[in-house]
Symmetry: C2
Subunit: 277 residues, 2 copies
């Protein structure tokens, strides 16, 4: 293992190591330790508090899957909010949707936005799109102050430690429900079905209590623990599995397809059982 | 990172590291370096020539998905062959199927069988099942000597280096075609769509040239590079996507479900494009 390697301890007994070509930037922001690497296998990579957030090679999976499933389930998504996601990847997918009028990013850490703008232009470029509003503030507070306002809210958070803990709480989901319009849809990233089963179960229960439709769907993200990542959706009216996929607009995706929109809800048996347990 | 860690270099720039509780067995067999570890996160784990083959925690995904898709596509699978797979995991899934009369394992390395019997009984126990025949010999030779004999052939090989190189060659697939009955189905493990694109494309082309139906499907395997693994199927008559899933027998799976049987063929766009390219 010659050269300089970055290792993330994904949990106490599992590590992923990436050979680096350069450490591009290192910073202690107001909220977290930020690291921008250039890696051999995944290209440029953003690391927060030691955990890989996104990389040039595989970012499209996460950003398409957190955004497009909700966007293509809602019949008329005009106002879309992203909480977290300061890299701008979800925003990039949202502004491609023809019906979206306003995409709002609420990121608590200016350092993430600045670093993404500088080192990850392929991901962050849409932050300058005319439909986009970037607010550096607390997402929880932002949502508390809105009522029946957003059509879609995406919670693109870091892991449930440090600044993101409050983004996995039932009270936060109740506030989201209130901030959504009558046809509103909410999606949160909810970690790995292999390593975060208690969290997934707990979030799923909370969302099921608050929204008439609660669903979990999955995608493969190589740089995240286990390579399998879950997203939990709460929806007031529209069932993502009842979408007429022949009406989904063609876009330049690299992971998402209309067929995969449905297939992503067909869970492995152990994940299905996890939700029933 | 206190303690003893096992690291697999999945490629020149990417490593996966598992904290170990014990090194249970280490051996240089006639064909490869064999290591049996007890790891904190994945439990007991078989490593061949430095590459993780199977672990107690996630083995069910690979073994169900390499076996059950073909078994539930074929209307009457009586004779099933596994080439490689000396741990016995695919055999375990095959003998559960009520129509199977004979499950034959052809493994070239006696050391793998012996070690799996000793340290991985949960995986290997079906090797003693009355329907099972275990042959320690060259799978290529075994197949060359059969004609219109097997209903299903599964190629459960190691990576395409060392002893397994010949198992990824077009000539081998032609021999498999000959060894299969008129309704025969063949499945091979074919590596990661993120890191082995040229191999996947090449195998898919070969199989498409030889079999009227060629399909790729995917499963999430945390201990394999990228967490996303591909299987290539060649079929003489039966299309795995046209199976009436309401007729699939209920079994005690942990990953496979009838719905997932179909969903696994809904490929991410970059994988679809890889096959078309």
């Amino acid at each position: 293992m010659q050269g300089v390697w970055f290792t993330e301890l994904q949990n106490s007994g599992l590590g992923i190591s990436c050979r680096t070509k350069a450490v591009l930037h290192q910073e202690k922001t107001k909220f977290q330790n930020l690291l921008m690497l250039d890696t051999e296998v995944f290209g440029r990579m953003l690391v927060l508090d030691g955990a890989i957030q996104t990389s040039i090679k595989d970012e499209f999976v996460y950003h398409e899957m957190i955004s497009l499933v909700a966007l293509n389930t809602h019949p008329d998504p005009r106002r879309v909010l992203v909480v977290g996601g300061g890299d701008g990847g979800a925003i990039r997918e949202i502004v491609k949707h023809p019906q979206v009028e306003r995409a709002t990013l609420v990121e608590i850490d200016q350092g993430v936005i600045d670093t993404a703008r500088r080192y990850l232009p392929e991901i962050s470029h849409a932050l300058d799109h005319p439909k986009v509003e970037v607010l550096v503030e607390d997402g929880i507070k932002h949502i508390q102050e809105r009522e029946s306002y957003y059509d879609i809210i995406l919670v693109d958070s870091t892991d449930p430690v440090g600044p993101a803990v409050g983004l996995f709480a039932a009270d936060f989901y109740r506030q989201i429900h209130k901030a959504l319009t009558g046809e509103g849809i909410f999606v949160a990233q909810t970690e790995s079905p292999w390593f975060n089963q208690e969290l997934i179960r707990q979030v799923y229960r909370s969302v099921s209590d608050i929204f008439p439709i609660a669903k979990l769907y999955l995608a493969n993200i190589p740089t995240y623990p286990s390579g399998l990542w879950s997203f939990t959706m709460g929806s007031k009216q529209h069932d993502p599995e009842k979408v007429d996929i022949t009406r989904i607009p063609e876009t330049d995706t690299r992971y998402y397809t209309p067929q995969l929109h449905l297939a992503a809800f067909n869970l492995p048996k152990f994940v299905k059982e996890l939700l029933q347990g």
